[in-house]
Symmetry: C2
Subunit: 366 residues, 2 copies
């Protein structure tokens, strides 16, 4: 088929101009006679890509100079282990705020290394809301407080609407998994100790992870660990302690340039607000044909999970939507139902097409 | 320019048909309306790619069923840390045979976790030979013996010619870094406990690492570690504990299919032998204009480092070779000089062109 509107939760749709440029350059990057994926990471060609990408990302996200930026392998999950190894003493208290599946994963990774205190837990409420800040039980002397800015499966996001867009935790460094909402709107980086994000949702391709670290934290001793697990060593090595995922880094760079050209995070914040509002409105005005049970103030702008009132219609919904060029709408196996992931690269036209399809499907099957 | 012959040490040249297929499929993989890099790793499309790639790699390398195959992130260096965490008790003895820069790196990664015994060390000899097997000082009760099958910087390889192609270490599991020579010739996998290799030299793209593990070793307790550092968990999760580097895995799959179509590892063994023989012959018959000081029996088939008798000619050699469409010949900064990396995807025509250029350059500057 021609290009579909692809609602995959990640790896996710990429900007078409980015794919077109990667395609055009696949056998010969900038006339050097080889693809960028074939060149040494230490050669002048890739070093240029690497440095430009960091500079562009710093511009896009307004990252202050006192923050280091790393481009690493391993996904968010590896960073979830490394933050404990690098920034906490063995057995030290760390505070975890759990608002969905990925927060639970983050906590699990550190249990061999630290005392992971469950400071707040949305699970008893079915992960349909953000636990109020005044209910959190933070530890004395915690190495950090960790939360997940957006939960892709449960569709729950820390938003200003719920009074908790960036939680205030005093002087304890705030660490956040921004895998599914990074660069989707302006963010005050200076509020954070560490931000990390797999790139495959809002920043481009799978296989590269961005880690943003307030530099003073790198003075912490942390725990015994291999050099390859040491953020200081990665910084000293310019994220090239070993061969980095060059092609993925390059595609991230193209994506960041595209975002800057489109107007930057302020522009994407508006697009993302309109896209999610349209979908939630379509759900909420369906008279119960579609439903989303997340508290309105905590609804994710990135992932809109929804259920058909009659799950017997799920198969027809998926089959007809795919035929209409709207793909990857099946919900995560943990929840079932449907999920529309609408990151930066999802055009507004794609969400409009989905909303139209949903109304049409309801008319035919309602 | 048109496609150059690219002697980059890794990331390295890829088969042109593989790049062409990736290019053709970049915006729409098999008519699904999206690139493979945009699709969920858990969807049927990528699962097909993943399973086919494993099956093809098992065929290509004749991997026995009692060996698990993982496709992971992090490069060889992360595996160098994980082998200690997964297969050795805290502080247990492990034996390291060092024949170059990367063997030293491997040893460094495990020092926080185990007692790393330097069983043999080629450094006093300038890493120009493989220490004879009968000189190795192996530990009692070692968790494993580790060596580096091919050293990319020093151009030293374990070969049958030096009586040490696969060292006999008795009942202790043999672990080997095959990053730069995997699938370059037939290999008896059953002689090994663990083989690991970054794919970016002989198996395709950067950003994905193949780990081949004798399954019984996975019963070892190892050391306290995060789940994401646990090979058993990766196996149970089919290398998808978290989002894998799907595009890199896909490109690896295309490369393996290309190798099978070309005749498999037996065919590449012949090509690689001819390619390296031609370059060493060109060097050895240059009357000292070019030199390579590695012991003949230990010379690498994959990386041919060489020096011009007069280093003042280095700049001219690099400038003229690049102009002739022979790129990335600059040696590693540790050694200087030149290096031709001639992995599976380097055509024989490329090596013939380089040998001609070298003779021509000598005539003009000799």
């Amino acid at each position: 088929m021609s290009r579909a509107f692809n609602f995959s939760p990640g790896p996710a749709t990429l900007p078409e101009p980015v794919l077109q440029q990667a395609q055009a350059e696949m056998l010969d990057w900038h006339g050097v006679g080889a693809s960028i994926v074939e060149l040494s990471h230490r050669g002048p060609e890739f070093m240029q890509v690497a440095h430009e990408t960091e500079a562009d990302l710093r511009t896009l996200m307004a990252i202050p100079d006192d923050y280091a930026v790393l481009f690493l392998q391993g996904g968010a999950t590896v960073q979830q282990a490394l933050i404990a190894l690098n920034f906490a003493d063995p057995g030290q208290a760390t505070d975890y705020v759990i608002t969905g599946h990925w927060g639970k994963t983050a906590l699990k990774q550190v249990t061999p290394y630290v005392h992971a205190n469950l400071a707040a837990d949305g699970e008893p409420g079915g992960f349909r809301d953000i636990p109020a800040r005044n209910s959190w039980r933070l530890s004395d002397g915690a190495a950090y407080v960790h939360y997940t800015a957006n939960e892709t499966i449960h569709g729950v996001e820390f938003r200003s609407a719920n009074g908790c867009d960036i939680p205030d935790v005093g002087d304890v460094p705030l660490f956040a998994d921004f895998s599914s909402s990074i660069a989707s709107e302006p963010l005050d980086i200076s509020r954070f100790g560490v931000i990390y994000a797999g790139a495959q949702k809002n920043l481009g391709p799978v296989g590269v992870t961005v880690v943003i670290i307030r530099r003073d934290l790198l003075e912490r001793a942390g725990q015994p660990r291999a050099g390859i697990f040491d953020y200081r060593a990665h910084l000293k090595g310019e994220s090239m302690l070993n061969t980095p995922p060059t092609w993925n880094w390059y595609l991230l760079g193209l994506t960041v340039k595209w975002m800057l050209a489109e107007g930057g995070v302020a522009e994407f914040a508006q697009r993302n607000a309109r896209k999610s509002a349209l979908l939630y409105d379509t759900i909420d005005t369906s008279g119960g044909f579609y439903c989303n049970e997340v508290a309105t103030a905590a609804r994710s702008r990135m992932n809109v999970p929804f259920f058909l009132h009659d799950s017997a219609l799920d198969a027809a919904f998926l089959q007809e939507s795919t035929a209409a060029g709207l793909i990857s709408l099946k919900g995560h196996r943990v929840l079932g139902g449907m999920r529309a992931s609408i990151y930066n690269a999802m055009p507004e036209a794609g969400v409009q097409a989905l909303a139209s399809f949903m109304r049409d499907f309801q008319q035919r099957h309602g």
